[in-house]
Amino acid sequence: MQNGEQSHQPYMLIWGILAFLMLAKVGVSLVGMPQWMSISFLVLISLVSALLVALYYMHLRSEPKKLWILAAVPFPLVIILILLVIQDFG
């Protein structure tokens, strides 16, 4: 990230969104909805929160695209790992 860009970053806005999403997760876990639906919501909210941290606080948003490719390397491996784990339920 280039120096001087920091003052234009919406750090406090992201903080507010992360706090809201955290409360939303607790709310979803307390509301009596079907388990698959509650798990789907919780995973989705967590992924959005994690993405916000990576994009804005870790400044991935303003990094060169080649670094994005590097950052994406483990995710196909994560998917393979999860798919292998799911086989155990079959």
């Binding site: 990230m1 120096n3 001087g4 860009e5 920091q6 003052s7 970053q9 750090y11 406090m12 903080w15 992360l18 706090a19 955290m22 409360l23 997760k25 607790v26 979803v28 876990s29 509650s38 798990i39 919780l42 995973v43 909210i45 967590s46 929160s49 994690a50 941290v53 990576a54 606080y57 870790m58 990094e63 060169p64 080649k66 670094l67 590097l70 950052a71 390397v73 483990p74 995710f75 491996l77 994560v78 790992l81 999860i82 784990v85 155990d88 339920f89």
Partner: protein, 213 residues
């Protein structure tokens, strides 16, 4: 002189914060990213093991809130989110050459990080008093031995990462007090921030999986 040493001598001293022409990121940052990606795999293996055990042996796990203190941990999660803001503010301060701001935001991050670890220790003490130990045959509040083992493994490793992070933050603060950072030499603060935000990111996922699902 070996060939490698001769090439190194010809290139001059290595500057870890010098941008690499190919990737556009300096070596220190690139190294931290590669390390963090290995950490993604590490925590994924723990989470994967938890998921398979959780759904293969549901009788071992209690419902959310039956054993674990969700409100307390939600508040602790908020503390960690706040520490991410203070860390990024520290980075923004040194990018403006604001030495005082850097030191103040680093102190705030250290206090918040230490608070997170302190609350986790407090939670562990209460869980132990209630008989929720890692290897019990069964728990009175519900669940079996897999619950305790996986809970302490995942949260313990994360707590260890936070503790190491607090130690590194203290080191960065000492360097900041000595005036080692500036807007043109802020690599140490930036890579520290990358580690700290990663720890926050992992907790956002762990809190959901361990406490809420």
């Amino acid at each position: 002189m070996s060939q490698t040493a001769a090439v190194s001598a010809a290139r001059g001293p290595v500057d870890p914060t010098r941008p690499e022409p190919g990737l556009g990121a300096y070596n220190l940052k690139l190294g931290m990213w590669v390390f963090l990606l290995s950490e993604v795999m590490f925590f994924t293996s723990l989470i994967g093991a938890y998921i398979i055990l959780r759904f293969a042996h549901p009788e071992h796990f209690a419902a959310p809130g039956e054993v674990l203190n969700v409100p307390l941990t939600a508040a602790n999660t908020f503390v960690l989110i706040c520490s991410s803001v203070t860390m990024v503010k520290a980075f923004a301060a040194i990018a403006r050459d604001d030495q005082k701001g850097l030191q103040l935001w680093l102190v705030a991050t250290i206090i918040l990080g230490s608070t997170f670890v302190g609350v986790q220790v407090y939670e562990y003490i209460h869980l132990f008093r209630d008989g929720f130990v890692p290897n019990a045959a069964a728990y009175t509040a519900g669940g079996g031995p897999l619950y305790g083992s996986t809970f302490y493994l995942m949260t313990g490793f994360h707590g260890l990462h936070v503790s190491i992070g607090v130690g590194c933050l203290i080191w960065v603060l000492i360097q900041a007090i000595r005036g080692r950072y500036s807007s043109s030499h802020l690599g140490g603060v930036e890579v520290m921030g990358l580690y700290w935000h990663f720890v926050d990111l992992v907790w956002i996922v762990l809190f959901t999986i361990v406490y809420l699902i």
